[in-house]
């Protein structure tokens, strides 16, 4: 791949939890407008790495480059960068309030006016078929519904990069296929995706690039074709 | 009124209601606001020593004299006196009812080991009580002698609950008389008289003191007008204070 297509790069990332070294990654590349997958067994450090890449966790050693430039940790610039990203978390957290409050929250934080928030929330809810949930309280919805709300919340800002940690947990068949389809659609645009999953079919169907973690080390980087033949046992 | 005069005084004075009659004419005349801070005698004197009051109105002669001697106070004047009474339960186990001699009454209380409540708080009243014990040549101690470390009213309540003897100022007794069963058993002994003095704080000690108004207040309270108000002030139908700056017969 050419350098032009690289949107985010990580070099020499080392992360400790207490005494335990959980990440040690020399070089990692996120390709623009593509489906980048991060796979690996439980506890291999995927979520930890995602937190670093998405600029949520600053407590690590190493360097990050966004479009070739080192990430600036000065507060305002950091915020600007973060606002280009979105994260769908492994176990989504919903804030106390209605479903529509939760979905609209990132826009609210960006100072978007109420009317426009209302409009976009409605649109997004329709896409995900959760319109009837909008007025429900955050703790009055089912597991899959919660997942969908968190997906809607992450998509509503139309981020440049979206980091996704096992988004299809708890989702039903229809929702999964919607998710896969919707994401593919989005990625035909400029959007970049980093997806963590244990779902092999998803990898097979969607992946443009595969990164495989094991015990905190990147043991494979490359395209799916090569990967399929050799390494599938490690997922 | 913008100008302010801080007067520290004892709770008994404030609680008697006298100041509410005595001060307004002064405040109006001199266009000054008198802020009354009512605390224990010891605390009142301490506040004055720290320059936190301009003038004090208290009743503890030895402490007052020390205050003046040490240079904190100047121009002390007698204002008025009231009297203490010895209260006790109806059945009067020490058999002191109707006695005129307070010292003798104290002796009988001690001999019969009847419960006696002392304020034990170093207040003017407490000092007076202790001085009587000294004159009676008794060191009060033992389970019959209870120290509350509280104000007059609270101590009267303890005495009432415990059906014990206590020495109290007449004003506070009157205020409590509706709620308690204790009765006046001894009164009228000259040793039980309780003189009040007013002392401005020495302006040489602190620059901010309102000495001028303090002196004006001294002048007013010891004047015909002030003394008359004191003389005529009654509560529960009884006169509480007797003016001492001007002899009562000379008040016009």
């Amino acid at each position: 791949m050419s350098k032009q297509n690289v949107i985010l790069e990580a070099r020499n990332i080392v992360k400790y939890y207490g005494e335990q070294k959980v990440l040690d990654i020399e070089n990692f590349t996120l390709y623009k407008g593509a489906f980048n997958f991060l796979i690996g067994p439980n506890g291999s450090g995927k979520t930890t790495f995602l937190q670093i890449l998405s600029l949520v966790d600053k407590d690590y050693r190493g360097e990050l480059y966004y479009k070739g430039e080192a990430i600036d940790y000065q507060r305002d610039n950091l915020l600007k960068s973060r606002r280009k990203f979105s994260v769908i978390w492994q176990n989504p957290y919903l804030y106390k309030g209605s479903v529509s409050y939760n979905i609209g929250l990132p826009l609210r934080l960006r100072g978007v006016n109420k009317k426009s928030i209302h409009h976009k929330v409605k649109q997004m809810a329709e896409k995900l078929a959760i319109t009837e949930l909008l007025s429900k309280r955050h703790d009055q919805i089912s597991g899959g519904e919660k997942q969908k709300v968190s997906i809607a919340r992450a998509l509503i800002t139309e981020p440049e990069i979206i980091f996704v940690d096992e988004p299809t947990n708890s989702l039903d068949k229809e929702s999964i296929s919607f998710f896969n389809q919707h994401f593919s659609e989005l990625v035909t645009d400029e959007m970049t995706v980093l997806l963590i999953t244990h779902d092999l079919t998803q990898v097979k169907r969607l992946a443009n690039h595969i990164n495989s973690l094991d015990k905190g080390k990147l043991i494979y980087q490359g395209c799916p074709r090569e990967y399929n033949s050799n390494n599938f046992h490690v997922i | 009124a913008e100008e302010r005069l801080v007067m520290a005084t004892t709770t008994s004075t404030e609680n008697s209601g006298l100041l509410a009659e005595l001060l307004p004419p002064f405040e109006e005349k001199f266009d000054v606001r008198v802020d009354v801070v009512a605390v224990g005698t010891g605390k009142a004197i301490n506040l004055a020593q720290n320059g936190d009051a301009d003038v004090i109105l208290v009743h503890a002669r030895p402490a007052e004299d020390k205050f003046v001697e040490e240079g904190y106070g100047v121009n002390r004047r007698d204002v008025m006196f009231n009297d203490f009474v010895i209260l006790g339960p109806k059945d009067d186990p020490a058999d002191i009812a109707g006695m005129k001699d307070a010292i003798a009454a104290y002796k009988k209380i001690a001999e019969s080991k009847s419960e006696f409540i002392s304020r034990g708080d170093d207040s003017g009243t407490n000092k007076k009580e202790l001085s009587i014990w000294t004159k009676a040549a008794i060191r009060p101690e033992g389970s019959w002698y209870l120290e509350t470390g509280q104000g007059m009213g609270a101590s009267i309540n303890v005495a009432n609950e415990k059906e014990a003897y206590i020495m109290a100022d007449r004003g506070t007794y009157l205020a409590y008389s509706g709620d308690i069963e204790l009765e006046i058993l001894v009164s009228g002994d000259e040793i039980l008289f309780n003189p009040y003095g007013i002392i401005p704080v020495n302006p040489a000690m602190y620059s901010h003191l309102n000495y001028q108004m303090a002196m004006a207040l001294v002048g007013y309270i010891t004047s015909q007008q002030g003394q008359k108000i004191i003389n005529e002030y009654t509560k529960y139908g009884k006169q509480l204070f007797h003016p001492s700056a001007i002899l009562p017969e000379n008040i016009k």
Binding site: V56, Y93, F163 | G51, G151
Partner: protein, 232 residues
Amino acid sequence: MNYLQEALIEAFKLIINLDRELLDVVTTSLRLSVTSTLIAALPGILLGIIISRNNFGGKKVINVILNTLLGLPTVVVGLFVYSLISRRGPLGELDMLFSIRGIILGQIILILPIIIALSRNAIHDIDDKMYKTAISMGATRLQQFKLLLAEARYGISGALIAAFGRVIGEIGVSMMLGGNIRGVTRTITTAMAMETNKGRFGFGLALGLILLTIAFLVNFGVYYLQAGESSV
């Protein structure tokens, strides 16, 4: 001597007559407690968050000290502030003794530990995911703070309510620093203490009932304001 009955009747009479002095002390009490609580709220909550969210050496000791300060007797605060603002104290020039400002200073010192400790407790139990989600949504520092307040609102408003309760019901500080000066620094509680001293127990209790009624109304108002509130 049914004090309670007497107190009820007295309280009723006082309220019906809308005594000017009563109005005065009620206003003073309310003004004091609302002001002190509001001033102490922001630094208190911030310190609570800082203590709860950061690991630093001596954190344990600070926590134990905080817990200790919950037992700060009003008299100690009163004496301490007195020694500062008395004429002979370092702040004597400011002329704060026997004034509303003096009381407020003392009350703030009294309730700061309460607000810090109780908001620390409230924030302690907030899920780490809350913070991560807020950051990933692109919340500024201030917005993160507001989101945290919204999530911990039950506990934090509990802290403020406890602080408000502490100041509206306290006597020591108001007495010592205010001096219970009629028409100036007399509050419901100092008036209550005075009446009790005079032996007017019924009247004292009546004032207590009025105090509780007012505290009830304030809490009621806050409760219903909160119910209709939204955040960020």
